[in-house]
Symmetry: C2
Subunit: 210 residues, 2 copies
């Protein structure tokens, strides 16, 4: 299969130097890209700014903002058979990006107006037809209920749920929820191992666990 993986954070520019972002390191997305490649799949990796080298043989598209990530993903999605949406996409971006660096005021505060970013996994899943879509949910509270709501609202086949402590870490633990109602705990283990079990749980759900 040809599989699209999104990974890493997005950066949403406030001005030429400042941005909004998040703690995603891209490690889980890159580990999933590698696990998919190791299973013989063709992988297209659309990645936000991270400090990682793309696994050899993977087609890398580097982007910065959520809108760039959506555009790059839409470009390749029509040729892909499945999507693993692992990127930690910023839900909001500054309403305006100032061309000049904003100046420190005279002691007063200020407000940053934020507007919603496009929902990348939901947008791609709207065009899924019979293709497989796996989403990720990072939730600090009420995780399971939120993950199930996301799966239903966004037409996902699987949602992998983890907590904020996963971001930037080398180890991870996931709860893999399937649209058919089944659940699988994966890890805690290094992200490479978690990625391999996740790929197996999604692509060969009836195979015996490694």
């Amino acid at each position: 299969m040809r599989i699209l993986v999104t990974a890493g954070p997005t950066r949403e520019a406030i001005d030429p130097v400042r941005f909004l972002s998040n703690r995603s390191s891209g490690r889980m997305g890159y580990a999933i890209a590698q696990a998919l490649r190791d299973c013989g799949h063709e992988v297209v990796l659309v990645s936000g700014p991270v400090q990682l080298a793309a696994p050899e043989g993977v087609e890398l598209h580097s982007v910065e903002s959520a809108r760039e990530m959506l555009a790059a993903s839409l470009d390749v999605w029509s040729d892909c058979d499945a999507l693993f949406a692992v990127a930690a996409v910023a839900d909001f971006r500054p309403k305006q990006c100032s061309a000049e660096k904003l100046k420190r005021g005279q002691g007063q505060g200020t407000v940053l107006e934020l507007v919603p970013n496009p929902d990348i996994v939901a947008t791609l899943a709207q065009q899924k037809r019979r293709r497989l879509v796996v989403g990720f949910a990072l939730e600090s509270h009420h995780g399971r209920a939120e993950a199930l709501r996301k799966m239903k609202d966004k037409f996902l086949d699987f949602v992998a749920l983890n907590g904020p402590q996963a971001q930037g870490a080398t180890r991870s633990k996931l709860l893999l929820l399937s649209a058919d109602g089944s659940e699988q705990v994966i890890g805690p283990a290094c992200k490479g191992q978690v990625a391999r079990e996740l790929v197996q749980g999604v692509l060969e759900p009836n195979a015996p666990t490694a």
Copy 2:
């Protein structure tokens, strides 16, 4: 001498996963720390989150937010003889850091209330007595006038002025302005070379240029 160097960006938390930051890689600050060490000085490096190893023999204090950077810097400043304030400190931070991850709303925007961060170089320079303080200015417009204003308002001995294109880059070009009115263009060159010339220009202003 024992010299305090601040380096890198700061990160200002919005919630457990999101933050405000900037494009500083920390390279110039780390290059200055290394150049000072190579000249035989004792270096204390207070650094925001970067992807760099501290030069060997340098005392590293890792911090994340501007307030942490100020606290760590104040802790060591009384024992230091000079300050190179190279860090790209966030001028503003979110008024509140949410303990829970903020949820994507139903399509509406939102505002992020920002409050000013402490001005680290100004705070340290207020306690400078006869010590040397070098500041950095990153300006997209009216750079020289802004840099001169900063030098005067904050009681700095030197200001190194550069533009937004310096952030994250490996090469740099600076205009070094001195409180005595002299000026020196440094670079364009790799940041290591720029750092060496800057250190020489500040600590041995009358020596012949390398």
